[in-house]
C-alpha cells in the first residue's frame, strides 16, 4: 500500500469534523486537548500505524482548505540509475 501523510493548518481549521467523518482510515481526529486562535478544536492526523494512503478525500471535503496531502511515491529505477520520481 502506498503510504501517505497530511498536514493540517490548525489555525485555519474550524473543527467542523467533515474530514474526520469521511477519512477511510479513520486517522483524523479532533485535537480535544488544544484550541486554535478561533477557539476551535482543530483536526489532527493521528496515524501511529501509518494507515494514511494519501487518498486526499479529507482535502476534497475540507471547506476551509486546511489540508495538504502527501503521498509516498517510489521513483522508478531509471536505466541510468538516476532517481526519477514518477507520479
Amino acid at each position: 500500500m502506498t503510504r501517505g501523510m497530511i498536514s493540517i493548518d490548525a489555525e485555519r481549521c474550524k473543527g467542523c469534523q467533515l474530514c474526520s467523518t469521511v477519512c477511510p482510515q479513520q486517522v483524523i481526529h479532533m485535537a480535544s486537548d488544544c484550541l486554535n486562535a478561533k477557539g476551535y478544536h482543530p483536526a489532527a492526523l493521528i496515524d501511529p500505524e501509518q494507515l494514511c494512503t494519501g487518498c486526499a478525500i479529507c482535502a476534497v471535503i475540507c471547506p476551509d482548505i486546511c489540508i495538504t496531502v502527501y503521498r509516498e511515491t517510489v521513483p522508478k529505477q531509471a536505466h541510468n540509475g538516476t532517481q526519477e520520481a514518477v507520479r
Binding site: R3, G4, M5, E11, R12, K14, G15, C16, Q17, L18, T21, V22, K38, Y40, G54, A56, I57, A59, V60, I61, C62, P63, D64, I65, I67, T68, V69, Y70, R71, E72, T73, V74, P75, K76, Q77, G81, T82, Q83, A85, R87
Partner: protein, 259 residues
C-alpha cells in the same frame, strides 16, 4: 559501479489552489461555500485564467468572496450580479466574467436578471450555491426552501398554501435557448464534490468557447441556520434536498462534448 537505490519520497498530491488569497474565510464551520470556492479556484488555476478573470460577488454569505480570490472583483447589488456581469462582459468580451451567487440572491430578488442573462446567452458563468435558506441574515425562508422546512421566517415549516413551491432554477433556465450549459451538482460527499469540480471546469470552458450562458447549481449545506451539525447537514441535504433538486445535466449543447 555505485548502485543507486531508489528511495521513496513524499510528493505533494494536494494543496491550496494558487488563486485563493491567504484570507481566512468567515463562513461557519462546515459551510460548503468553502468547498465551492476551492473548486472554482482550482478550475481557474487549471485553465490559467486568474489574470483574465473578473468576479462578481453577490449580496449574501458569499458577499466577501472578493476577499478570497486573487482576481479582479466587484460587489453587485443584491440579485443584480448577472446584469453587472453583462455590463462587464459586453465591454470586456475577451475576459472571463464569473458571478458567484446564493439562492436568495439568484432565485429571489435576482430572478429577473438571471433569466434574461440566460435568455440573451450572455457569455458569462454563474456559480449558484443553493442551501435553501437566506444564510447571512440568519436563516429565513428562501424561494428554494423545501415544503415543510422550518426557517426563522417559516417557523411552522414552509406552507404551500401561503408561500407556494420551491423553485428549481436549473430546470427553469435550461428551457431558454441562450443557455449552453446548465447543470446541478451537489457538495454533500467527496464523490459528488469531484463531479462538481468537473462541471465548474466545463462551465468555464463553455465561456471560453463562447457557446452561451453557463451555470452550475451546487446544492450546499447551512449547518448554522439549519441547526444541524456539519456532517449531519450533509446527510440532511442528501435525504431532503436531492429528491426535490435532482442532480443532473439540464442543458448541455452538443459542442460541449468537444471541449
Amino acid at each position: 559501479m555505485l548502485q543507486v537505490v531508489a528511495q521513496p519520497i513524499m510528493q505533494t498530491v494536494y494543496q491550496r489552489p494558487e488563486c485563493l488569497t491567504d484570507h481566512h474565510t468567515h463562513y461557519c464551520p462546515g459551510c460548503t461555500h468553502g468547498i465551492a470556492h476551492r473548486l472554482l479556484a482550482e478550475a481557474i488555476d487549471e485553465l490559467g485564467i486568474r489574470t483574465q478573470t473578473v468576479l462578481v460577488a453577490p449580496v449574501g454569505c458569499s458577499v466577501f468572496v472578493y476577499d478570497y480570490f486573487n482576481v479582479d472583483a466587484c460587489v453587485a447589488a443584491h440579485g443584480r450580479a448577472p446584469a453587472m456581469a453583462t455590463g462587464l462582459k459586453r465591454v470586456l468580451p475577451d475576459r472571463m466574467v464569473i458571478t458567484y451567487q446564493g439562492d436568495g440572491d439568484l432565485v429571489s430578488i435576482g430572478a429577473g436578471e438571471i433569466l434574461h442573462a440566460a435568455a440573451r446567452g450572455e457569455h458569462i458563468t454563474t456559480i449558484f450555491v443553493n442551501n435553501a435558506v437566506y444564510g447571512m441574515t440568519g436563516g429565513q425562508m428562501a424561494p428554494t426552501t423545501l415544503v415543510g422546512q422550518k426557517t426563522t421566517s417559516s417557523a411552522q415549516g414552509r406552507s404551500v398554501s401561503s408561500t407556494g413551491y420551491p423553485i428549481r432554477m436549473s430546470e427553469l433556465l435550461s428551457s431558454l435557448d441562450g443557455t449552453a450549459y446548465i447543470v446541478r451538482r451537489s457538495l454533500h460527499d467527496p464523490a459528488s464534490i469531484r463531479k462538481a469540480k468537473k462541471a465548474i471546469l466545463t462551465a468555464l470552458k463553455v465561456q471560453q468557447a463562447g457557446l452561451g450562458f453557463g451555470m452550475v447549481e451546487l446544492l450546499s449545506t447551512c449547518p448554522t441556520n439549519w441547526g444541524i451539525a456539519p456532517d449531519k447537514a450533509l446527510e440532511w441535504l442528501e435525504t431532503n434536498m436531492l429528491p426535490y433538486y435532482p442532480v443532473g445535466d439540464y442543458k448541455v449543447v452538443p459542442e460541449v462534448a468537444a471541449l
